[in-house]
């Protein structure tokens, strides 16, 4: 088991290194950074000077090594637009994004678990059909469209919820729901299929044979085991949830990392884009790692093998 954990950690470090390479090369996709960062009409000597100053005339490997050394110290360079270090700019916006994504995840779980369980225990019945219908639509609906439709309904027509910014609980409702919808659909299907599997296991039959009430059998015997894959999937979906947050934050002008990064991308603010892509991808790697290790703790069967 120790060997597995060590291997898993080594992989995570390797992937994070890979992440740094990709974030670094994002700058070079358009060619010469000097051309983009300097105002048009810059003279040849100005370009020369700029390149020497920023080290763009060094070999790529040297430049990457410098990028990596700085990145380890949290230095991703100064934002071209804000004139400040990019990392603190992003860090300041992380809590907003975390609030949004965590709320969305909880919302998805809270809705999906009962729906999936009900669908499994009433398999083939109207509840099951309804749950699967909701799941299929939830999986197919473009979340940004849903966001706009919610704005149209809850904000424009009924004036119930605020359309933008971050503030009280009410502000988080619509963006979180828009992000949660796709995840909820996925989780509902997952809970349903694992519950169906669990309900046909021997230990459930034993519990029933003992004369335990069906509700008790479902909630105490089958459900805990069905929740193990849920943890993994929620963890693995974190990347998608962050991606969803990027789009949804722009719609609700939610002051998080997503909105900030989109603005940086549109403004070609490279240090910020690099830092943000690096931070978000590293976060996904670390969360996947945690989920893998958590799995050990949740499912004693794996520990043996």
């Amino acid at each position: 088991m120790r060997a597995y954990i060590a291997g898993r950690l080594a992989t995570a470090v390797l992937v994070i290194l890979g992440v740094s390479v990709v974030s670094f090369f994002l700058t070079f996709l358009t060619g010469d950074p000097a051309e983009i960062m300097l105002p048009p009409g810059a003279t040849a000597t100005q370009i020369e000077k700029f390149r020497a100053e920023w080290g763009f005339d060094d070999p790529l490997f040297v430049q990457y090594w410098r990028f990596l050394k700085r990145a380890v110290h949290g230095d991703f360079g100064v934002s071209l637009r804000h004139g400040q270090q990019s990392l603190p700019l992003i860090a300041a916006r992380l809590p907003a994004t975390l609030q949004l994504t965590v709320t969305a995840m909880l919302l998805a779980i809270v809705l999906a678990v009962p729906l999936g369980v009900l669908a499994a225990t009433h398999r083939g019945g109207p509840v099951d059909l309804l749950a699967m219908g909701v799941a299929l639509v939830g999986q197919s609906v473009p979340n940004f469209w849903l966001a706009i439709m919610m704005i149209l309904l809850f904000a424009v027509s009924w004036g119930l919820l605020p359309t933008s910014g971050r503030g009280g609980v009410l502000h988080v409702v619509m963006p979180a729901a828009a992000i949660a919808i796709n995840l909820m659909a996925l989780l509902t299907r997952l809970v349903r299929s694992t519950m169906i599997e669990m309900l046909s296991e021997d230990y459930v039959r034993t519990a029933r044979a003992k004369g335990l009430r069906e509700l008790f059998v479902t909630s105490r015997h089958a459900l805990p085991n069905a929740l193990i894959p849920l943890v993994t999937v929620v963890g693995l979906q974190f990347g998608y949830i962050l991606g969803g947050a990027v789009v949804i934050e722009t719609i609700f002008t939610w002051p998080g990392v997503g909105l900030f990064t989109i603005q940086a991308i549109l403004n070609r603010d490279y240090p910020v884009v690099q830092a943000s892509v690096f931070i978000l991808a590293t976060a996904v790697v670390l969360i996947n790692l945690t989920v893998d290790l958590l799995y050990f703790w949740l499912d004693p069967r794996i520990r043996v093998t």
């Binding site: 992440v19 358009t30 940004f144 424009v156 962050l242 969803g244």
Partner: protein, 259 residues
């Protein structure tokens, strides 16, 4: 189907502007007309015709990208699974790396830097999908490698390339088809999101995502501009997901027995 027959189905030119009929509501509304069955947008362009042509763009990008991603992913998965060893490690770590990025963010950054056109969008979308095939195909071919019919072919002196193409590949195609269908659906959603954020195929080409983004500005006066493109995306993706689920039930004997 609607996308293929776009020129026949569309009632007017999708990029034709006519400001005199700007922001006309759909035909069932009071001052709507059948000339513009789903109304017009802020430049007087026919929403219905733009939807039909938008389908062409969305489906072209998604189908091409899913196909490109599938080819790359299947080859990578076959090689990784069949050869094993160092090649396997490298390919799988690349897949891990790719999976670590919030894909839409990566796609956004790359498209913003390289420029938004059909070719770049297809390549970027393919980058977001190949590793899913690679992982599944690798797992399957790992098992197939040890099966008797593959062993027999090897004992007969067949070349690795031939074994992979004739004996391993046909056995992984069914799940690949299922993934392909579901990935087309996912890519449509992603393409429309990019387009919504202003990084899709540039105007004047009508795309569902941009129609939605434009409609957002007229939400209070002309909600239909935003409603219909979303419904178009929803129903297209729903249909494709339906197809994917059906294919899975059909092709996966394990599931068939259960139901």
């Amino acid at each position: 189907m609607a996308a293929l027959a776009a020129p026949l189905l569309a009632t007017t030119d999708p990029i034709d502007q006519d400001l005199t009929v700007a922001l006309k509501p759909p035909f069932w509304a009071e001052d709507g007309s059948l000339r513009h069955p789903l109304g017009t947008d802020h430049l007087g362009r026919d929403v219905y015709s733009r939807l039909i042509y938008g389908a062409q763009i969305s489906l072209t990008i998604s189908v091409l990208a899913a196909f490109l991603g599938a080819v790359v992913g299947v080859v990578a998965g076959l090689v990784a699974g069949y050869r094993g060893g160092r090649v396997d490690t490298i390919i799988m770590r690349l897949a891990d790396l790719n999976l670590a990025f919030p894909l839409i963010l990566l796609a956004l950054a790359v498209v913003a830097l390289l420029g938004a056109n059909l070719k770049n969008l297809v390549i970027v979308m393919a980058i977001t999908t190949w590793m899913i095939y690679a992982r599944v195909v690798r797992g399957l071919s790992l098992g197939l490698r040890e099966r008797e019919f593959v062993q027999a072919a090897r004992a007969l002196g067949a070349h690795d390339t031939r074994i992979i193409a004739r004996h391993v590949l046909p056995n992984v195609l069914a799940p690949v088809m299922v993934i392909w269908t579901l990935e087309v659906a996912r890519i449509i959603l992603m393409e429309s999101a990019l387009s919504f954020l202003g990084l899709g195929v540039p105007p004047p080409t009508p795309t569902w995502g941009r129609m939605l983004a434009e409609g957002r500005d007229y939400l209070t006066v002309a909600g239909w501009i935003a409603v219909f493109p979303g419904l178009a995306i929803l129903f297209t993706v729903l249909g494709i997901n339906f197809l994917g689920d059906g294919l899975r039930d059909l092709l996966d004997p394990r599931l068939r027995r259960q139901t």
